[in-house]
């Protein structure tokens, strides 16, 4: 007879830690999964906007416009990117996602006047045809990289790292290396892909500078070149990205997602997006390059409030990855038996690495892929992006801004001491910024 009242869980060894130790004892290898960091970290939820009052006046809706356009790549490129909204779709590979998902992303982005980004598998024709503005990643693996796609792209993104695993390379398990994926990546079908963590032909910002020059020579100085980093030593990295010649810097916080990485990497490396934004903006201001070299922030951007707060802190745009996947159906409450088959339930699923995505987003299996029709996916994502934009405009108008980029740090306060210190914003109701005054 168990007295349930006496059952006490250990805070040091709670159920999921026990399960993980048992799993490690069974399998002898680290746990690999998709999605971003799941643990709670200080984030944009801890910041609040100071809306209009007696000293500030709001804008009316409708004719008192709140504009949302942004230009990326003004520093060196002859053809900078013009976006209608300051929200882009982050790099996610064909391979980690299926072709239908990539097409959905492209169609929605085109409808909303924004860009998508290729990933660690190269450019598919579906994505190039469906996406009006396409950013082409140059990653350590160089899978599928070729000068034709370089020239067909609208911008290039040199990936130094991503928030989920700064210092790590790509990963794709055998079950997702289909004939098509294998062909694009020059790998044997069905094997587990091992990826490099450093670029094959440069190491360090001094050599990156030369590499960026090479990419400019190949593309005749037309295309903006982004440098993407996972958030760790953000001050140095943003400074060095600028010194290496980047037009745009992309900073991805630890909440950033992945389709397959070691859990230990996802949860224990990198800093949250909140301090990363502040550090990145500080670095740009120190170099007198704020708004000259544009800053894109990603890693756990979920709604218009997150986006507006990132912009208020000084970013020029945000990028969404996991959220875009969720809009396409990730963790949707459907096909529940198929979630159970891979050992999870809707709302908890992070099983992109299995390739058995029940909603057809992160899979290469045709029967599962068929569950996501590109037109439906595009509609969902377009609606979600529209919602985000409307939310941003609502907040910006309430702060009296006729352009979302006019949001500034002084429009924000923090609700916790950690968030105040990390964002360098005053604790609500006080003048106190921990660490600064």
């Amino acid at each position: 007879m168990i007295d349930k009242r006496a059952l006490k869980e250990s805070a040091t060894f709670p159920a999921n830690v026990l399960a993980e130790i048992h799993r490690a004892a069974d399998q002898g290898i680290y746990d690999i999964r998709g999605f971003g960091a799941k643990r709670e970290v200080p984030c944009f939820d801890d910041l609040l906007f100071l809306g209009a009052s007696m000293s500030r006046y709001p804008l009316e809706g409708y004719r008192e416009k709140c504009a949302t356009n942004v230009t990326l790549g003004t520093r060196f490129a002859s053809k900078p990117i013009e976006l209608d909204i300051p929200i882009t779709i982050a790099g996610m590979s064909f391979g980690s996602l299926g072709a239908n998902a990539k097409e959905s992303l492209g169609l929605a982005a085109t409808m909303m006047g924004t860009s998508t980004t290729t990933g660690d598998g190269g450019m598919t024709s579906e994505e190039r045809e469906s996406s009006k503005t396409l950013v082409y990643q140059v990653l350590p693996s160089r899978y599928g990289l070729n000068p034709d796609d370089l020239r067909r792209a609208d911008a290039l993104e040199v990936v130094v790292g991503q928030g989920a695993k700064p210092g790590g390379g790509g990963m794709l398990l055998g079950q997702k290396i289909t004939e098509r994926v294998a062909g694009m990546r020059d790998l044997p079908e069905g094997i587990d892909q091992r990826s490099a963590c450093r670029h094959p032909d440069w190491t360090g910002p001094d050599d990156l500078k030369i590499k960026i020059q090479e990419l400019r020579e190949i593309t005749d100085y037309e295309k903006p070149i982004y440098v993407k980093i996972g958030a760790t030593r953000v001050t140095y990295d943003v400074t060095l990205a600028v010194k290496s010649g980047a037009d745009v810097v992309v900073v991805d916080g630890m909440q950033g997602g992945t389709a397959a990485t070691q859990d230990v990497f996802i949860e224990h490396v990198g800093i949250p997006t909140l301090p990363a934004v502040r550090l990145a903006v500080d670095a740009l201001k120190e170099l007198d390059m704020h708004r000259e070299v544009q800053l894109i922030i990603s890693g756990g951007i979920r709604n218009g409030a997150d986006a507006a707060k990132a912009l208020a802190m000084g970013a020029d745009a945000v990028s969404i990855g996991s959220a875009a996947m969720v809009a396409l159906g990730c963790n949707r409450n459907a096909w529940v038996e198929d979630y159970e088959k891979i050992g999870t339930l809707p709302g908890y699923c992070h099983h992109c690495h299995t390739g058995a995505c029940p909603v057809g987003v992160a899979t290469q299996t045709p029967e599962l892929e068929a569950r996501l029709r590109p037109q439906q996916g595009a509609l969902w994502l377009r609606n979600y992006l529209s919602t985000m934009v409307l939310e941003m405009q609502t907040l910006a108008r309430a702060c009296g801004k006729s352009h979302v980029l006019n949001l500034e740090p002084e429009d924000l306060v923090a609700m916790t001491i950690e968030a105040a210190a990390m964002a360098r914003l005053p604790l609500a109701g006080t003048n106190w910024i921990p660490g600064s005054n």
């Binding site: 450093r198 360090g204 910002p205 001094d206 050599d207 500078k209 140095y236």
Partner: protein, 298 residues
């Protein structure tokens, strides 16, 4: 991350061209090192009873007054030569510890180098400006190291520039990034090595000096460095008589060497060497990883 250059003139007759060679090499490395530049020039070796110090002052400094003070301390004539923000002092080496005295009485000054023949000058700003500020083309000498800096983890200041000197006639320039420099800095300070900044390259300089103080030859010190320094590095070390080059075992940071009858040169990129007289006939090679190369003896 940075550019490093080094040149050693085997042919004594061309020593007057040292400055011109060094200047052109330095300027070629501007792209990979735009933040600051520095050189260590070995020339005009002094006798036993004299020592020269290169001193740096932020802002204006009454070098004349300092000279008079030092004359009082050493009881001997002091000569000085101002050069941009630096001044080269020649003082008697008669038992009075000039360096310690300066650190105690003029804490705002920085001692960039001390020795019989070494002169270190370094400054913030692009290499091209450094060359004209310090009139580098005019220098003659036997050998020199140079460095152009792209700051990674420590600030862009004059003190954080290379070359670093932590011993008499000894200096070091570094391209790369050490991953355990904080631990090493603490350990070296415990051993009494004076390390002034948070710059990883200064730690490498301090380490070499420490090993040589403990009795290692330069080669031995560098061999030991392979085990104790962690990270990516191409190092060039200057001594009174020559210089040495070392790459870490992973050897990702670039290094190229060239040798003719008249000179030996090293650089991060070949284009720094491409301008030197006689390069068409030079033997050109890359130093192997984890291997000490040395010229001119210690």
């Amino acid at each position: 991350m940075c550019g490093i250059v080094g040149i050693y003139l085997k042919n004594k007759d061309i020593q007057s061209s040292l400055g011109t060679c060094l200047a052109s090499m330095l300027v070629q490395m501007s792209d990979r090192g735009p933040d600051s530049a520095g050189v260590a020039i070995y020339r005009d070796p002094l006798t036993e009873d004299e020592i020269k110090l290169s001193l740096f002052a932020e802002g204006s400094m009454d070098w004349q007054a300092l000279g008079l003070e030092l004359e009082q301390c050493t009881g001997s004539e002091v000569l000085f030569e101002p050069r941009a923000s630096h001044a080269l002092f020649t003082v008697a080496d008669n038992g009075f510890d000039v360096s310690t005295w300066i650190r105690a009485n003029h804490p705002a000054l920085r001692i960039m180098s001390a020795g019989k023949s070494i002169e270190i000058y370094k400054e913030k700003g692009p290499p091209g400006e450094f060359v004209s500020q310090f009139d580098l083309q005019q220098f003659s000498g036997s050998h020199a190291l140079g460095h152009t800096r792209m700051a990674t983890e420590s600030a862009v200041t004059t003190e954080h520039s290379h070359p670093f000197s932590t011993g008499l006639d000894l200096c070091l320039v570094h391209n790369g990034s050490l991953s355990n420099h904080n631990h090493l800095r603490r350990k070296l300070r415990n051993c009494g090595v004076n390390i002034q900044t948070d710059n990883d390259s200064e730690v490498a300089a301090g380490y070499v000096m420490w090993r040589m103080r403990e009795g290692d030859s330069l080669e031995q010190a560098l061999e030991r460095a392979l085990g104790d320094l962690d990270g990516f590095y191409t190092l060039a070390v200057g001594t009174a008589n020559g210089f040495a080059v070392l790459r870490d075992p992973i050897a990702c940071k670039p290094a190229i060497m060239a040798e003719t009858e008249d000179w030996v040169a090293m650089a991060s990129e070949f284009r720094a060497i491409a301008q030197l007289e006689g390069v068409e006939n030079a033997r050109v090679w890359e130093p192997a990883p984890a291997t000490v190369y040395a010229w001119g003896g210690q």
